[in-house]
Assembly symmetry: C2
Homo-oligomer: 513 residues x 2
């Protein structure tokens, strides 16, 4: 057994069984060793940002890490943006980064770079296995570290000689860390403060937005608190049968308007809300003036236990409000808008679908339409780096092959990782892709105004507009192996989407809005 084989064996022994890969020469031993461990599923991505985004989607749904296989510093670099998003989603990921043989590093060959520094900003653990016998132990340590809590991407650097030399064969099993319940004093303090407050808000983030936690949060709502979630949540159930908390609006001034009169904010699995960007003369912190703040539990703690204890301390009823099913009866008609798309999705999306949302300015329309749809889950853009909606869907579909996956994307966002479509075709994933084609970075037109930068002249417009030429997404998607259709009316979208839901396998819909 060589080091590469030891690595894959240890990963599989620790339930890491999916590998999103874009290998090069320094990873050939890992690639060859895959045939000795068929429990590891290799998924080829023709760009590393697809691999890291897919690993994020996989980790959010499977609640365990996938691994990636990346080619030295530049390969990792291509994956940085989606690892930034994964870090902000607290998703466990084990990045395996091939490197030159240990003795070859000193010669600074063309692909050599300072990997250790490059990985730092987006790794919660990073080590290099500089001998083959270190591989198995460090791999187990990497898996354990990826769980945090609260979890995140780790970087396992694998020099080529550590991969090809003989290694100890016994896989090492890692202990998964446990999330501790928040301290009793934190629960009591929150209960006292909520009782004393005129208009208390509970703000949920991360694990506090999962199904079990939302059940307990609903009890707080029944007890008189208003429950919000962060604007962008890694994974959250929505639709019928669950609790539907409010969401913090994206724009700071809207958030503060929503929070007017609130005199207490209790944070659960999240931190103080802040504006996504700073703007001249607008606030950075989204807490009303004079409002007290308090933390019930850290991101690393057990949000379900914390919320349940708080609900009990408040004497809340055993069950809170539940969203009733309410589907649009009539098919949408006329001009195609994000709201029409949302209505069609609500009408046809099956139970337990997974929505990967990178729809930017079209997202609100879909969210409005699907709020009372069949139960589903939404994976949001946690780190603001657009280009994750397609890769996330790959990972979600690999993690949950029995669930329908929807990937909703702005056209600008889709272009970052358009290579994803090929992987969907190759793996025959049950993903329906929607690209909202408005041929502009619409959000930037809005932001240009908000930053006080003034009216866009010809030079500025060249950087905001995605037309001239308009991309023919159907042609691109077909070229990459997907069946594809363009819809220019609500009727056309309704039919295309219903058809997609009635079949299995990948489908691409260009929504001309």
């Amino acid at each position: 057994m060589n080091g590469a084989h030891a690595l894959i064996s240890t990963l599989v022994a620790n339930e890491v069984t999916a590998c999103f890969a874009n290998p090069g020469t320094s990873e050939m031993q890992f690639v060859a060793a895959l045939d000795g461990v068929p429990a590891m599923r290799p998924v080829l991505c023709q760009f590393e940002g697809v691999a890291t985004g897919a690993a994020d989607g996989y980790g959010r749904i499977a609640d365990k890490p996938a691994c990636t296989l990346l080619h030295l510093g530049p390969g990792y670099g291509n994956g940085v943006a989606n690892l930034h998003n994964a870090r902000r989603a607290f998703t466990p990921i084990v990045n395996v980064i091939g490197d030159h043989a240990t003795y070859h590093r000193q010669y600074d060959a063309p692909l050599n770079s300072d990997i250790a520094t490059l990985v730092k900003p987006n790794s919660i653990w990073a080590k290099s296995a500089d001998s083959p016998d270190a591989v198995a132990g460090l791999a187990a340590e990497a898996v354990a570290a990826s769980f945090g809590p609260p979890g995140g991407p780790v970087s396992f650097i694998l020099p080529a000689d550590s991969a090809w030399l003989p290694a100890k064969g016994e896989p090492v099993i890692a202990q998964r860390p446990v999330r501790p319940a928040p301290a009793g004093e934190a629960v009591e303090a929150a209960a006292r403060a909520i009782k004393a407050a005129r208009k208390p808000v509970v703000l949920l983030g991360g694990q506090a937005c999962r199904a079990e936690a939302l059940k307990e949060a609903a009890r707080l709502q029944a007890a008189g608190a208003t429950v919000f979630t962060d604007t962008f949540v890694a994974r959250q159930p929505r639709g019928a049968g669950g609790f539907a908390p409010k969401k913090m609006p994206y724009f700071g001034e809207l958030a503060l308007a929503e929070l007017e009169g609130v005199d207490l904010m209790v944070f659960v699995g999240t931190t103080m809300p802040v504006a996504f960007f700073a703007y001249p003369d607008r606030p950075s912190v989204l807490v009303p003036e004079g409002c007290a703040t308090l933390k019930l539990c850290e991101r690393s703690e057990d949000a379900v236990a914390g919320l349940a204890a708080l609900a009990d301390a408040l004497g809340a009823p055993k069950q809170g409000p539940v969203q009733a099913l309410a589907l649009p009866e009539a098919a949408p008609a006329g001009k195609l808008t994000a709201y029409a798309v949302g209505a069609s999705i609500a009408r046809h999306m099956p139970d337990h679908a997974i929505i990967c949302d990178d729809a930017v300015t079209s997202g609100a329309g879909v969210a409005a339409g699907t709020a009372a749809a069949r139960p589903h889950e939404v994976l949001a853009l946690t780190g603001g780096a657009i280009g994750i909606g397609l890769p996330l869907a790959i990972g979600a579909a690999v993690a949950a092959p029995d669930r329908k996956v929807l990937s909703l994307n702005g056209d600008g966002a889709a272009m970052y990782t358009i290579q994803s479509l090929w992987t969907m075709a190759r793996e025959n994933l049950d993903v329906t892709v929607v690209v909202f084609a408005n041929y502009t970075y619409r959000i930037l037109n809005v932001e240009m105004d908000r930053t006080g930068a003034g009216q866009a002249g010809p030079s500025a417009r060249k950087l905001l507009d995605l037309g001239d030429p308009n991309i023919d997404f159907v042609s691109v998607a077909k070229g990459l192996g997907l069946p594809a259709v363009r819809c220019e009316s609500a009727e056309a979208f309704e039919k295309a989407f219903a058809d997609a839901m009635a079949q299995r396998g990948p489908m691409f819909i260009e929504a001309a809005i």
Copy 2:
């Protein structure tokens, strides 16, 4: 005038007049300010790796930096792989990286990350302009730093408030550094050693491979030394009318076979040659055993002066050998191969064309066919991070609008930055793109064998093979706005390529080899 305006004014005052951009909200002030400085040409790229690769191509041809405009850490991250290549090409580039407002950084908003650490591995200079009045001075410092010598990418971090607040208006002019001539002792030592050697080799890299330097190097060849260049050179003239040195072979064992019996290697503008990758039981250093080595001049020094002085010291003739024009008379026929493509290129490529080479395993065939073609220049993949052939061509075409640009790409390489095609269409660049479609990472099949990793089984094959489905590149290219054609025979390629050379504007050819 605000900080953004001051920045662009200073860049333009320092002859930085092209901006390859993928902006976001934090860059809106920069975008708006572009309208006040029309001398700066904004070029939108729908992915940051396109922007950084284009800046590399621009810098190699213009011999001055372009700037990029990137959106915080993730935007820079997407550009890392091609900045790695640019660092290895020693290309001056000024990366402008937007960041949160200085006072907003403390809140760790979703897009916040450790930019200073992320940029380190691929920046030869990096600073953040944390006040608007610091912008102009630091921008001038950034431009100067990008020239080195030997030059490379620099990172200028622009917080949003430094962009939107009022700033001093006077642009600051930077002093361009001068490359010193190598010391007289180095020249004398090299001359003595060459005279005493039985079989001396002179190895050129970087600036020593430019036109003026090659003229002097040809004199050394005439004086009895054998002249080689590095395997991958940032910019090198080839074809008729110039000197045609040998090239160090990619595979180490072939390089050492070429160098058999060599007892002296003199390095000019480069360092000791090493294997691109390490392999079990193969050497890392590509210098024959017992061969002496010597440095004539550093990468930072004036290679033309050094080579001329050495030629004089050796009493070399005033002119060395010159490549005669020799074009294939007959059009290639039959099966389409890289060699047939090379023959067609040689027959029809106009004078002073620029070849951007990311053709991987197809590169050798083209190089063989074009060695005696009309004078042209080749920009090679200096850092081993595939995915630069398309972006390089954008930058080269923007820098030299009167020259025909050819972009030659392996299919796997083209997919990394396929978004480039859209920018070529939008800017109507005079670029002919060739993608060699063999539906496999061919190089990895070769490397798998060389690393001793054994035969690829079903799992490994899944990571080496790019078929299932085969990408229809014509459909993808047309979708992104380019005229496109697929060629399955040498005759078809000959016609398509001749047509492309006879017109101006972008053209895409899928070469099914």
